[in-house]
Symmetry: C2
Subunit: 561 residues, 2 copies
Amino acid sequence: MAVAARVNEERYVVGIDFGTLSGRAVVVRVSDGAELGGATHHYPHGVVEDALPGSSRRLPPDWALQVPEDYREVLRTAVPAAVRDAGVDPARVIGVGTDFTSCTMVPTLADGTPLSELEDLRDRPHAYVKLWRHHSAQPQADRINRLAETRGEPWLARYGGLISSEWEFAKGLQVFEEDREVYDRMEHWVELADWIVWQLCGAYVRNACSAGYKGIRQDGTYPGTDFLGELAPGFERFVEDKLDHPIGSLGGRAGTLTAQAAAWTGLPEGIAVAVGNVDAHVTAPAAQAVGPGQMVAIMGTSTCHVMSSDVLREVPGMCGVVDGGIVAGSWGYEAGQSGVGDIFGWFTRTGVPEAYNQEATRRGESLHELLTRLGAEQQVGQHGLVALDWHSGNRSVLVDHELSGMVVGQTLATRPEDVYRALLEATAFGTRMIIETFRDAGVPVEEFVVAGGLAKNQLLMQIYADVIRLPLSVIASPQGPALGSAIHAAVAAGAYSDITLAARSMGRVHAHAYQPDEGRARRYDQLYAEYVALHDHFGRDPGLMRRLRAIRRTALEEEVG
Amino acid sequence: MAVAARVNEERYVVGIDFGTLSGRAVVVRVSDGAELGGATHHYPHGVVEDALPGSSRRLPPDWALQVPEDYREVLRTAVPAAVRDAGVDPARVIGVGTDFTSCTMVPTLADGTPLSELEDLRDRPHAYVKLWRHHSAQPQADRINRLAETRGEPWLARYGGLISSEWEFAKGLQVFEEDREVYDRMEHWVELADWIVWQLCGAYVRNACSAGYKGIRQDGTYPGTDFLGELAPGFERFVEDKLDHPIGSLGGRAGTLTAQAAAWTGLPEGIAVAVGNVDAHVTAPAAQAVGPGQMVAIMGTSTCHVMSSDVLREVPGMCGVVDGGIVAGSWGYEAGQSGVGDIFGWFTRTGVPEAYNQEATRRGESLHELLTRLGAEQQVGQHGLVALDWHSGNRSVLVDHELSGMVVGQTLATRPEDVYRALLEATAFGTRMIIETFRDAGVPVEEFVVAGGLAKNQLLMQIYADVIRLPLSVIASPQGPALGSAIHAAVAAGAYSDITLAARSMGRVHAHAYQPDEGRARRYDQLYAEYVALHDHFGRDPGLMRRLRAIRRTALEEEVG
């Protein structure tokens, strides 16, 4: 009887994580964060890279667009399916929170209508959503960086010295320069993290995280009209005309669910809708890691590191530092490694011989599992190798995408499992380099908390603990971002007074699941010293790798020409 | 009639090449070097690495022995079979010549009986033949080198500054220190190149090539008793008691075929037996490449470079320079690359995924052929890679077997054929480094002549021509060493006055089969500059690679311990 009564009193929140290819909704119990049900909806148009829907005209290289209606479909299908899967009464859902890939941008009218949904603009590529990995605004980014450095713009250091082609200004300048009509008709240049919230509550609130990390908003202001005018005449009013908008704090309430959105989702009209957020950053509270010095690594194809701190410092090579960028009231730091799981995947696809496939099949293992098992059988340093994890360039701390990967120490006795383990270790060394750079800049790192798909590789986790000499905690939810969004929904609904408190009840972590082993750590200190030597030789004075890229480009042009 | 008469006047020679696993006899026409027939005999005992024949006692690591009777079997089986295969009248054979792996050594009695054939010594490992790749005398070699350097021994520079553990002194000192009874009963310490000649003609003649390159014989003398006594008390008389013996010039006659050897081989008693020779060096005349500046590369699992010159210079990192070491009257230079085909083989075994095997099977190609074809489809530099070819250490010009291989420039787009081509190119860069070191030391290199199994890879040959910017000739005989031995037999028999003349008639080469292409050569100049930068960074100051080896050794000891 008491239990039944309690069940009837339970309240729930819905977290929705919008990824690159699909959106996933999770229903979470407010009292303890239990994930009761979930559902995923794949975007019908996926990533638009070849041609616009219904068109045969090829898009240029490095374009990556999306179709806004795909996101609304997630609201209409995945949310009701998740509630059904959870078996809860929708009437007991008190809030909804969201997170999105970033920096993903869309040009809209004043009411939030994407320009791609206007009849006369549906064949204009620049009217569509520019996905985070739309990379064709690199020339614009290069000019932004050069000019900012020349003018000594104070905000540049907050981004480790470099603005990315993925971010709001480079993408916005590309629209301005390549399709002036779309630019002129655009009334807002909107992060999708905020656009989806707008769809839910009918109000446009710009979230502090995106505005800070991707929108160059620092100390309450943006790059000035002088800077913008010098960048491109006519672009002076980009901030005031298209970008600037009232800021909402993370965990704040953007508004309440509209009748329209209630009809889409099957949730009660009027419940709280949380301010939008970014997938990596929203994961920190899901792992109970919003305190100073708790670095959260979301480890998948690449790794994103986020960490809160009481202090503001300029850390060389970080992606950014933003006031309230992870939780309101703290400085949120972000760094990243551009290739991690991608490198392991590349190696298993291209560098492992047939006999290993046969052995893996025989044992019912994946190649990753086989190589991990074989790699785990050896002592630290036994393979005699050290690698640089730059196959996809280096984000932090060198911020150089012309760098490339290498493995040193190969002999005729070197086996695939040796190289695989050396690649795992190289990414751990890359993480240690980031941690030490933060520490050297005066931002302490005390604990390492892992989320993301790679957390399930126990050898990898132990290597990280041994290499970085820190206790390593692992998020206990397989849906970190969606759980994080649900936590934000609970705070927006008033169930908790702030994110830190909500995280304590609703977050899920295996605290200190891995401890460094002193013997292995000492051996890794030796190997890390060699990694640093290679890192500085090839990275700090990157002549050789850049010249190899230049030679390659010339050769490729000749082949095409 | 005239033709038949000519055939009846034709004379023949037999060349016998004693390799690591088998001996091969070839019957060659004296007038034009035509190879009329051949036969191979595999050594029944192969390489003895685990235990002596009939024993279960394990040999220590890095031992590699052989059984002398196996070589006599080649005389008894392969020679008559080759004559039958050629269909010539044995009575028209006028000489026999041989070459052997080197430095391969045997302790004998005064009459040439190997100590391993004495009843009371057959269970003593040190009584057997020590094959060239018996590597357990490294501590002895290290001590020889340290002492020679300390004492400023003048002969050290003739060997690029380093005496190998494979050579006569290190192996002899090992016998002295590890089995004094065998050492004391040994009356000669004999190169197998000379022992096999002794079996044929009943006389012990020490060939100038082995004595010079492997026996530290320079300017007519050996290391002195002072040096030897300081090396090991009691070892003072090693040269005069065991090693020193009259020298025979290459192409000279060691003696005539004994009745016993005539019975074994089916050849006429009394015909000329040439002075012994080494497999790599004997190949030069077979490729018509005995003139100054003609560098012959015998390219297989490793590469051996031999070249004659009018000048004596000290070339850093060469294997050796010997008066009359290739042809009498010239300075013979030798250099080497310790891993070439071995590296390509290692990569195809360990670094190529299943789909490539399937594609190769479908097309009826080997993996090497598939990777070569795919590698040939790209422009120079297109893969964006540069590699160091040190997977088996570096012989010339760094003389450091603690070095290791590496590939720089890998990205997520790097394919197996890219790495394969980069490895081919790395060995070509290694060859260019050797050529430039010779030139810088004042020894010109004008032409590059390739023998050995890798000569059939056309992509590899063209890469070498482009990288070294020299016309590249290719030997036209698949049995270079055996043909070279036959040429020496013809000179020993008096059919030609010297090796140079004999080579002109009997050698076979596709002269200038490959020419460098200026466009590709220019691009390779750029990549070679990067190779040199890596070579000098990792090779001239080899801290990192040596430390990796040390870390690996410690880890392996821990695993065993």
